[in-house]
């Protein structure tokens, strides 16, 4: 009994310690940011591997999510004769929740895991210590551009996801179930607020992006430099990243829409 409680305490202390390590790690990276901004080439390269390579999955997922939302909304709303409201349902759910959250989950799976594996492998092949030997700060050369790229890529990916989702919904609503085109767009325009809906969704995506790359880069840097440790670190990135997205989404939603 005592032993179990001790185990629980041990776990908690380990978690808090890790959280502290991660914060110090992020702080160190942020300190090196000015040096990174002078060399935008590094960031562009990372934008390619985190942003561009995630684009395909975002496009496909966005289209289908939009289409499915429109179809499901139609089945429910047609009973009330309110099928014209499809666009409101599709656009609001995409902007407020599904856009940032699904993009975040896909981003954690596609870009986050790749980041962890890459940095973990750099560590296990001692490239990071090699850099330090050459007086190159790996925080500045390796970690900071990756953090910045993820931070920039997430809102762009989210905007693309939302836009493609809205178009997917349009496809089903107008060409599938026969809502008038003008009704689809005009209802979205009157019911969707630029600040409370679109901008809040974008703020969410920025927060998610930062948290995901933070977790991914930290897990890679902190991984046990063996093939097994690398696998575990990659898994942790995806699991913790996804959980962080879902948990933070609830918090942000409560903050943003709570008092309306």
């Amino acid at each position: 009994m005592i032993k179990n409680i001790q185990l629980l305490g041990q776990k908690l202390i380990a978690t808090v310690a890790r959280l502290g390590q991660a914060s110090v790690f992020l702080y160190h990276i942020l300190l090196t940011m000015p040096g990174v901004l002078i060399r935008p080439k590094l960031i562009i390269k990372q934008l390619y591997s985190t942003g561009v390579q995630t684009l395909i999955i975002i496009l496909v997922a966005g289209t289908f999510v939009g289409m499915v939302l429109a179809l499901q909304a139609y089945y429910v709303l047609v009973d009330f004769g309110a099928e014209d409201s499809i666009s409101q349902m599709v656009v609001l759910s995409l902007m407020r929740e599904l856009g940032p959250v699904i993009t975040g989950l896909l981003f954690a799976g596609r870009a986050g895991s790749a980041l962890t594996a890459e940095i973990g492998l750099m560590k296990s092949t001692e490239q990071l210590s090699g850099m330090e030997m050459m007086a190159i700060d790996p925080m500045q050369r390796v970690m900071a551009p990756r953090i910045l790229a993820g931070f920039l890529a997430m809102p762009l990916l989210t905007a693309i996801f939302m836009a493609v989702g809205v178009l997917g919904g349009y496809l089903v609503a107008v060409h599938g179930v026969g809502i008038y085109e003008g009704v689809y767009w005009s209802l979205a325009q009157t019911k969707v607020d630029f600040y409370t809906d679109l901008m809040n969704g974008m703020i969410k995506s920025v927060v998610f992006g930062l948290v995901i790359v933070w977790i991914a880069v930290f897990e890679g840097h902190d991984s046990v430099p063996t093939s097994e440790g690398l696998g575990q670190a990659t898994t942790r990135t995806v699991v913790h990243g996804s959980l962080a997205v879902l948990g933070l989404d609830f918090l942000l939603t409560a903050l943003m829409f709570g008092d309306i």
Partner: protein, 153 residues
């Protein structure tokens, strides 16, 4: 892959992302109606505004000409004061124009419908519409109907 291709695709990605955001802002949200919203304001008093909300449309003959800018409650007169914001190009409403709270469809959203009067003077910013008709509350009508049925027996 060489640097040129990477830089080009990243550039395309950024352009694509901003284009998506721009399309969402312009086509799908109310940003455009925000910009054209610098109209003149008139007030109208109602006993009951039903489900009217800020940003509900203001329409004449079914054409949208503005929106509800604010809703307040007058503690002295026990009335709701609705501030209507009307686009500047629609500036020829006579002073005896009447306002009513109407419903689009049976269960649709509520909006303020204006009915132009016959006076020769026009409404200006800050004026008050005196002839108003409150929202129809479905429960009250059903209640009245039931009572009248009961009285018949």
């Amino acid at each position: 892959m060489n640097t040129k291709v990477i830089e080009t695709t990243v550039g395309l990605f950024v352009v694509f992302g901003f284009a998506a955001f721009f399309m969402l802002a312009m086509n799908v949200s109310n940003l455009i109606t925000y910009e054209s919203s610098e109209g003149y304001q008139v007030h109208a008093r109602f006993d009951n505004i039903g489900g009217l909300k800020v940003r509900s449309p203001v329409a004449v003959g079914g054409v949208r000409i503005g929106k509800v800018a604010a809703i307040a409650y007058d503690n002295e007169a026990y009335e709701a004061v609705v501030t209507l914001e009307i686009e500047p190009k629609y500036n020829k409403f006579p002073t005896d124009t009447s306002a009513g709270i109407l419903t689009a469809g049976l269960l649709g959203e509520q909006y303020v419908g204006l009915e132009p009067g016959a006076e020769e003077e026009y409404l200006k910013s800050g004026d008050e519409i005196t002839v108003t008709q409150s929202a129809i509350v479905l429960e009250e009508i059903i209640g009245q109907f039931l009572y009248s049925k009961a009285d018949e027996k």
